[in-house]
């Protein structure tokens, strides 16, 4: 398999073209958004909680295939889990699922959705954030 075929493997293109958990929640408990100014990727995520459980989570966004597909995969991974569990997810948990080799620039694309989700959980349930994100209203990956 060529490098390109492994990067744009079928599952990535499928999530890009048919994103899971895409759309809006009518009355969300919390929303957050973020962007990757370098390439203009944008993601916003809305969550509805049942107690501390993520009952529904949906995203909207535009950007490259990697950013949008990774966020789509993330929606599948976190629905039904608790805010605390998801806040503790490592980037490798997502990157293993994404499963493609990423250069440093594309890594930011892949991690945008996870960052926005953690910001939303922080806003909604006070879960911890990386120190460097403290006080952020929206996420900007640099």
């Amino acid at each position: 398999m060529s490098e390109l075929d492994s990067l744009y493997r079928e599952v990535i293109l499928d999530h890009y073209k048919n994103p899971r958990g895409h759309g809006v929640i009518a009355d969300p408990d919390v929303e957050a958004e973020g962007q990757n100014p370098l390439c203009g990727d944008e993601v916003s995520i809305a969550i509805a909680f049942e107690g501390d459980t993520i009952e529904d989570v949906r995203f909207r966004g535009r950007g490259c295939a990697i950013s949008q597909a990774a966020t789509s995969m993330l929606m599948d991974m976190v629905k039904g889990r608790t805010a605390e569990e998801v806040a503790a997810m490592s980037r490798d948990d997502l990157l293993d699922e994404v499963g493609i080799p990423l250069s440093p620039v594309r890594l930011k694309c892949a991690l945008l959705g996870l960052g926005v989700l953690k910001l939303a959980l922080h806003k909604g349930r006070g879960t911890p954030l990386p120190d460097e994100w403290a006080g952020l209203e929206e996420l900007e990956l640099r």
């Binding site: 390109l4 744009y8 390439c39 944008e42 950007g63 295939a65 594309r106």
Partner: protein
């Protein structure tokens, strides 16, 4: 043999010029490099690299204050490069040629050095909406610092400057600065700068021209343009990074405050006060970019040897070819003007494929293009795009490299279909 009445126009032979550029000896992903990102930075010919090495190996010392032979040779090399830069843009005097780090530093020098002392409430600072951030952000910031108003010359949906708005802008205050780019880095448009200069001067403004994308690609004559300041950079014109040029009218530079302060830029320092060195040294604090200036000088020699007219024609031919080939691709929208008003820069949007994905897919074929906002966020906003893919050409670009880009774009479409 009979002599010809007219000298034949010089043509450049890109294929043979490529032999001067060592980078093309190296494969990318096992494929020959098709470098279509010269608007971001050009590749370097052996002649430039050799000139820099030769300086370090034979003539290197710090400049200007040494009394020994080596220091004199280094100083001559540095000041020799300044003279080459002067002649290259037809400045009246080398006193008007300030070495800076790059165009950004040149434009910041003007914004701080001229702007802080000459702008205030009631004044208008005007930039075009298509300015690179380097000729936009410093002016927006200095306007805010001084209480002046900041206005833009708007761009229409096809990326053209709306010159019909100029009179309206003039009615809103005293226009003191007009910041404009000679050639758009995103769209490749050659802007009607003479017209803008004329308007700016009618308002009593100083006209500050970003010529980063013009000077490497076509003849530029600061006296013919009539502007007041003009910046260009070495690394986009076959020279090294770390060296740029600010040209400014001597009477303006002479009356300006210094920007950076320290060594070399002084005439006399006492406990009470300091007086400034003469032009251009007043604006060159600290040890200058010595080898980089020599590299820039070698780059200027190289470009003059090839011929700026020949480079301009070569790139226009490539731009025409690229517009034709890209036009074959369904769902692809080319931005910017027809080829006769461009340099070798072509930005486009491929429907359904993000520019980052486009750039990554063609990279697998060894084709290097840039994806992003190109430091042009206000322009991108106007065009309704977050980013574009940009292919840009130079004297070493071959038509078959554009063919390889087109093949890659077809591949991207198929992948994302």
């Amino acid at each position: 043999m009979t002599s010809m009445a007219v000298t034949a126009r010089r043509q450049l032979d890109a294929r043979s010029l490529r032999a001067d550029f060592p980078i093309f000896e190296h494969a990318i992903h096992g494929k020959p490099l098709a470098y279509l990102d010269s608007a971001a930075s050009s590749q370097k010919p052996r002649q430039v690299l050799d000139a820099m090495s030769a300086l370090y190996e034979t003539s290197y010392a710090n400049i200007h204050r040494g009394v020994y032979d080596l220091a004199e040779r280094a100083t001559d090399a540095y000041e020799g490069a300044r003279e080459k830069a002067r002649a290259f843009v037809n400045a009246e005097s080398a006193r008007e040629v300030v070495f800076t780090r790059n165009v950004t530093a040149a434009l910041n020098l003007v914004a701080y050095g001229w702007g802080l002392d000459n702008l205030g409430p009631g004044d208008l600072v005007v930039a075009t909406e298509m300015e690179h951030h380097s000729n936009f952000v410093p002016w927006q910031y200095i306007a805010e610092r001084t209480g002046a108003e900041f206005e833009v010359v708007p761009v229409d949906g096809s990326g053209e400057l709306r010159l019909e708005e100029l009179d309206g802008i003039a009615g809103r205050g005293r226009v003191k600065v007009l910041a404009c780019m000679l050639v758009s880095n995103s769209l490749g448009t050659v802007n009607p700068v003479e017209r803008l200069v004329e308007w700016g001067h009618e308002q009593g403004a100083v006209v500050v021209v970003d010529a980063a994308q013009a000077v490497p690609h076509r003849p530029v004559d600061v006296q013919a343009l009539g502007c007041d300041f003009l910046g260009f950079t070495g690394h986009k014109m076959c020279g090294p990074t770390g060296i740029g040029v600010l040209w400014g009218r001597a009477e303006l530079l002479g009356n300006m405050s210094p920007f950076e302060l320290g060594g070399h830029m002084i005439r006399k320092v006492t406990l009470e006060r300091t007086t400034w060195n003469e032009l251009p040294h007043k604006f060159e604090a600290g040890t200058g970019p010595i080898a980089e200036a020599v590299g820039l000088g070698a780059a200027i020699d190289y470009l003059e040897e090839v011929g700026l007219d020949a480079i301009e024609r070569h790139e226009r031919t490539l731009a025409e070819y690229a517009l034709g080939r890209l036009g074959e691709i369904p769902g692809l929208r080319v931005l910017g003007p027809p080829a006769e008003r461009r340099v070798g820069i072509v930005s486009f949007d491929l429907e359904g494929v993000h520019p980052h994905d486009v750039a990554q897919i063609v990279d697998a074929e060894g084709v290097a293009v840039r994806a992003g906002h190109h430091c042009n966020q206000p322009l991108m906003t106007r065009l309704g795009l977050a980013a574009t893919t940009r292919a840009s050409f130079y004297l070493y670009t071959l038509p078959e490299e554009i063919d390889r880009l087109v093949e890659g774009l077809h591949r991207a479409r198929k992948l994302f279909a």
